[in-house]
């Protein structure tokens, strides 16, 4: 309650302050404004660009998704928002502006969702190009609004005229403050940590229970909403819109603001947005006196270009790096306390089923069989080892269990329920999916065919009647040839893909109760040790994004609990002293332990450890053995462990599976495994002519280049 009151008070104070400044700025004397309208306009423009840059920071800086089409969102918001006040003169007031911002932002957010969804499948620069393409498509569509009768008032390429001027300092900087506050709250919350984790290491974030797709789409939607609202203010500030002004250059300028300020730094983006908006306009004013004689407008842009190169050469990490400029140091970091780990109430296992069971799991990469007919079971509470020579397929097996790869065939069951492997679609659903694929392809074929048909036929269609072309196309053989061809192609290519239900994604496996560590350490290098652990709390959060953005009491409580638990876990593993350190700065052994802590934070039932002792010295290994056992007992875990250190494996495992060339060649207690001739052969090679299922003379080689597939 106190928290809520404090928030409301702060909001009121900020609003009052903005209102006051606005009143001062709009003072008039003898009918003339006291403040230079040029400067005022520049001020408002800067404020709008602050919102745009901060919103882009959420996508590019926090989530690490590279968007270079942000101007498109601003354009959508600007046109939609302007259309609202243009079409409804009753809304030409403050309330109308607010409403149009919400509508513009909302429609823009919808577009953000549309752009975010393809990011399901695309990474890095491919996504960047899709966003770029989106920005350009929006621009071209807006340039053609004059040919669509209901939208003709938007003016197409000539521009959208007659938008009422409704913005003032209050609205522009109100939105900027809101954008900054939301971004700041997000960055500090569990949700924001998930965003940062996606930026740092998508695969690790996925494995720790972060739905990376959802995070990315959320980032796009949020950023698009803010950009749309800012675009709406832009429209009501300039009173005139040109599709051309929302071009690629504007998107690039926004990226420049974000990168120059320091990727992910909100204050950095704010500062550069103001400087880069105001500076070129002020340089335009240099054009006076003696200089005017020599001045050309291009110099301004040349200077800007050179400045960009200069800053990047001298300070590649941006002006503020990843840090933030703060007036006050943060309080409340020291709430760690010394209490012991709160005991968890875990649900009693009702099923007597095995924690994990693999039945005939096989994974092929092209012609290579990495894992072949893999059968294992883990009883609740067991500590089992998985060993085998390099390249035997151990890590691939882990990846199959945790949803990183999908098995080619076989079944994986967790507590009796299958979650990976062969699960054929019900025939009706499969038919539906195939029909959908084919329909989409046919539609695409129809559009392409119509374009081709209309470009080789003289149709004489008015530009406002473009849709008629499609109707005419229905009578053309050319069009139908395209339809049939693309439908057939779609049917042929998707038939085999629509065979099995998709298995669980890594984050879903994590929610199920599987947690893992990685052979090649995959921490979130730029996050602190504590933050690395907190990311894992995201998967089991109870609060939603809304409470993160507005820092509700529930969110604060949840974060406090998560923090306490993280500190307790870190203490147990002797890492509490390093909680504030960046993960990349930890020594190797500590990084490995931190990975285990991070995995435990997801509250797993089954822990998969991939070579936890790699790179540790003998002393550390002994400590680790004790720790693993202790963790298993304390948290009531089942553990599957890949390890090369035989002393460690034999010392703690109750049962051991031996994998070679993707097949299980032995299973048993450490004592049995130690004596098993097949295991000895796999590790040490066999004598020539030694009869044991292997033909004479087929000396197995352990040359890594001949090993069938590298999975490590």
């Amino acid at each position: 309650m106190v928290r809520l009151i404090r928030h409301v008070l702060i909001c009121l104070a900020v609003a009052l302050l903005l209102y006051g400044v606005n009143a001062v700025l709009s003072l008039e004397r003898n009918g003339q404004p006291v403040f230079d309208p040029f400067v005022l306009r520049l001020l408002l423009l800067s404020g709008i660009f602050v919102t745009l840059a901060v919103s882009l920071t959420i996508v590019n800086g926090f989530t690490g998704q590279f968007s270079i089409g942000h101007a498109g969102f601003a354009a959508v918001g600007a046109y939609v928002g302007a259309a609202v006040t243009y079409k409804f003169p009753g809304l030409q007031n403050g309330f109308g502006l607010l409403l149009s911002c919400l509508v513009g932002g909302g429609v823009s957010a919808l577009f953000g969702w549309l752009v975010g969804v393809p990011s399901l499948r695309l990474r890095g620069d491919y996504l960047a190009i899709v966003t770029l393409g989106f920005g350009e498509i929006i621009r071209v569509l807006l340039e053609n609004t004059d040919k669509i009768p209901p939208l003709a008032f938007m003016g197409g390429a000539v521009g959208f005229n007659g938008i009422p001027r409704l913005t003032n300092f209050f609205w522009v900087f109100g939105l900027a403050v809101v954008a900054i506050a939301l971004a700041r709250n997000l960055k500090r919350s569990l949700h924001g940590l998930a965003f940062l984790a996606v930026r740092e290491d998508e695969i690790a974030a996925d494995a720790m229970g972060v739905n990376t797709t959802k995070v990315k789409v959320t980032a796009f939607v949020l950023a698009a909403f803010l950009a749309g609202a800012a675009g709406c203010l832009y429209a009501h500030n300039e009173q005139f819109l040109l599709p051309k002004s929302f071009n690629f250059i504007m998107s690039i300028m926004l990226v420049v603001m974000v990168v120059l300020g320091g990727l992910g730094s909100i204050t950095g983006a704010t500062i550069t947005a103001i400087v880069l908006t105001a500076l070129p306009e002020f340089l335009r004013n240099v054009n006076t006196g003696l200089i005017a004689h020599y001045y050309k407008d291009e110099y301004r842009l040349v200077a800007f270009a050179l400045l960009l190169v200069l800053v990047m050469l001298l300070r590649p990490q941006g002006i503020l790096g990843r840090g933030e400029l703060t007036l006050f140091r943060r309080r409340g970091e020291e709430e760690a306390g010394t209490g012991s780990l709160p005991l968890e109430e875990r649900e009693q296992r009702s099923t007597g089923a095995d924690t994990l069971r693999c039945e005939g799991v096989t994974k092929r990469f092209g012609g290579l069989v990495a894992v072949d007919d893999f059968n294992i079971y883990l009883r609740p509470g067991e500590l089992v080892g998985l060993i085998g020579p390099n390249g035997a397929g151990k890590t691939t097996a882990f990846n199959l269990l945790t949803g990183v790869y999908e098995p080619t065939s076989g079944a994986v069951l967790f507590e009796g329920a299958q979650y990976e492997g062969d699960r054929p679609y019900p025939p009706a659903r499969r038919a539906l999916l195939l029909a959908w694929d084919t329909l989409l392809a046919a539609l695409g074929g129809y559009i392409v065919g119509t374009v081709v048909f209309s470009s080789i036929t003289d149709l004489n269609i008015a530009p406002t009647q473009l849709l008629q072309v499609f109707a005419i196309g229905a009578h053309s053989g050319v069009v139908w040839a395209f339809v049939v061809a693309s439908a057939a192609l779609a049917l042929a290519t998707t038939r085999h893909r629509r065979r099995n239900l998709p298995g669980l994604k890594p984050y879903q496996c994590s929610h199920l109760g599987l947690a893992r560590t990685f052979q090649n350490i995959r921490l979130f290098p730029d996050l602190t040790v504590l933050e690395n652990v907190l990311v894992s709390a995201y998967g089991r959060r109870r609060t939603n994004l809304f409470s993160a953005l507005f820092q509700t009491a529930g969110m604060a409580r949840e974060e406090r609990e998560a923090r306490a638990r993280a500190h307790a876990l870190l203490r147990e593993f002797g890492l509490d002293a390093e909680a504030g350190e960046q993960a990349r700065n930890l020594p190797y052994g500590d990084q490995r332990r931190l990975e285990i802590v991070r995995a435990l934070m997801t509250r797993p039932k089954l822990l998969l450890l991939d070579e936890p002792a790699a790179g540790m010295n003998p002393q550390e290994k002994v400590e680790l053995m004790g720790l693993i056992r202790q963790v298993r007992d304390e948290y009531d875990l089942t553990i599957l462990l890949i390890e090369h250190d035989m002393k460690l494996v034999m010392g703690i495992c109750e049962r051991i599976y031996v994998l070679d060339y993707g097949r299980i060649i032995a299973e048993g207690t450490p004592e049995e495994i130690r004596r098993n001739p097949k295991v000895i052969a796999a590790y040490l090679g066999e004598e020539f002519g030694d009869a044991d299922g292997v033909p004479d003379g087929e000396q197995r080689k352990r040359d890594p280049q001949i090993t069938p597939i590298r999975t490590d």
Partner: protein, 384 residues
């Protein structure tokens, strides 16, 4: 039907011709991406420079109407930045600092006469070239092509050395922003010096040009008679020859092999004794050479006009072509370029022509949804 087929083939040929120009540029994007994993945004502007160099050779330097004063000012600004950058590192040493300041001041003071000398030299050089080019369309064309290739290749290497090499370890975003800076510099610097007016030139104005380029070529395929512009055919043939030469270099020569090795794993290549700096410079050399050639071919042999901002949209579409084909893959860049050119030509000829600039991106998004790594690119699952 016969007429439809004829129009269809005609459009297809036009499209492939345009596509071959996209392909020439796209190859440069894809090579740099393959080696350095970053989008060289200045590449489209190298293409623009190629167009201008062709103009200078064919019509003489006088046609450039250089603003001498603007040239001095832009060069002074570039020098100032170079000076500031050079202060990094050893700049604190007072002796060196003094030497740097004196040197910088001296160059600045002499910049006016230097530019004059440079322009005089350039005019004479270009005068000689233009005189040679005026002899016949063949010598003129080859000469212009050669000059464009060499000049742009050197420009590419210069950009790499001056702007990209110092920040190579700083991450891809930094490189990208720097590339944007270089791109803006070329566009706006060029505009300051050469003006914003659209230019056009044609080899057809040279002796014998009308017969070689202006005339159209008549093809008969059964009942279908096609009339193809000869200039366009030459562009297409030249593009094929250039790409073939590039493929030969990349596939068969030592340097090409080194290039592929660096693209595969830069560190490992360096450990195997490959001078990665040379290879990266060579990559820029090759890519820029082809972009320069494209700049000349697409304007010297057609009627199109260009200005200093031409490279932006053209470069963007070529880049999209590279992504479409699967970035990092040479064959993919060519395929993507051709698809892009054909699609654009068909849309431009249809009632939907005002949506022409969007079509490249619609195709791109549609294809990436089904093949996330482009048409010929291989989608690699990241190793865990």
């Amino acid at each position: 039907m016969g007429q439809s087929l004829q129009l269809f083939l005609q459009q297809l040929i036009n499209g492939i011709e345009l596509g071959s120009v996209y392909a020439l540029i796209a190859v440069g994007y894809t090579m740099v991406y393959g080696v350095l994993k970053f989008i060289n945004f200045a590449h489209g502007d190298v293409y623009m420079v190629g167009a201008f160099m062709g103009l200078f050779v064919v019509t003489g330097f006088a046609a450039a109407s250089v603003d001498r004063q603007a040239m001095v000012i832009v060069l002074a600004m570039i020098l100032l930045v170079t000076f500031l950058v050079s202060l990094r590192g050893h700049g604190r040493d007072p002796k060196r600092l003094a030497a740097r300041i004196v040197g910088f001041g001296l160059i600045l003071a002499l910049l006016g006469p230097l530019v004059n000398a440079l322009l005089a030299f350039g005019t004479r050089m270009m005068g000689g070239l233009t005189a040679a080019a005026q002899r016949s369309v063949l010598t003129g064309g080859l000469l212009a092509l050669l000059v464009c290739i060499v000049w742009c290749a050197l420009l590419g290497v210069l950009i790499e050395r001056a702007a990209y090499k110092p920040i190579r370890s700083a991450g891809r975003l930094t490189a990208l922003i720097t590339a944007i800076g270089v791109s803006l510099l070329l566009e706006n610097g060029g505009q300051a010096v050469f003006g914003a007016n659209p230019r056009a030139y044609s080899l057809a104005t040279l002796p014998g040009g009308q017969q070689l380029i202006g005339a159209s070529l008549n093809l008969h395929l059964g009942s279908v008679a096609l009339s193809v512009n000869r200039g366009q055919m030459i562009v297409l043939v030249a593009a094929i020859v250039l790409v073939a030469a590039l493929l030969y270099i990349v596939q068969k020569t030592r340097l090409g092999k080194a290039m592929r090795a660096v693209a595969f794993d830069r560190e490992a290549a360096a450990l195997m004794g490959i001078n990665t700096d040379t290879v990266i410079a060579f990559t820029f050399f090759l890519g820029s050479a082809l972009a320069g050639a494209a700049g000349f071919l697409n304007y010297g042999l057609t009627q199109f006009s260009f200005d200093t901002l031409t490279g932006v949209m053209f470069g963007l579409k070529a880049f999209v072509a590279a992504v479409l084909g699967g970035i990092g893959n040479l064959g993919g860049a060519v395929l993507g370029g051709v698809i892009m050119g054909v699609a654009e030509t068909f849309v431009a000829g249809s009632p939907f022509s005002s949506y022409k600039d969007a079509i490249a991106f619609v195709i791109l998004i549609a294809i990436l949804l089904f093949r996330p790594a482009g048409l010929l690119g291989r989608f690699t699952v990241e190793k865990v």
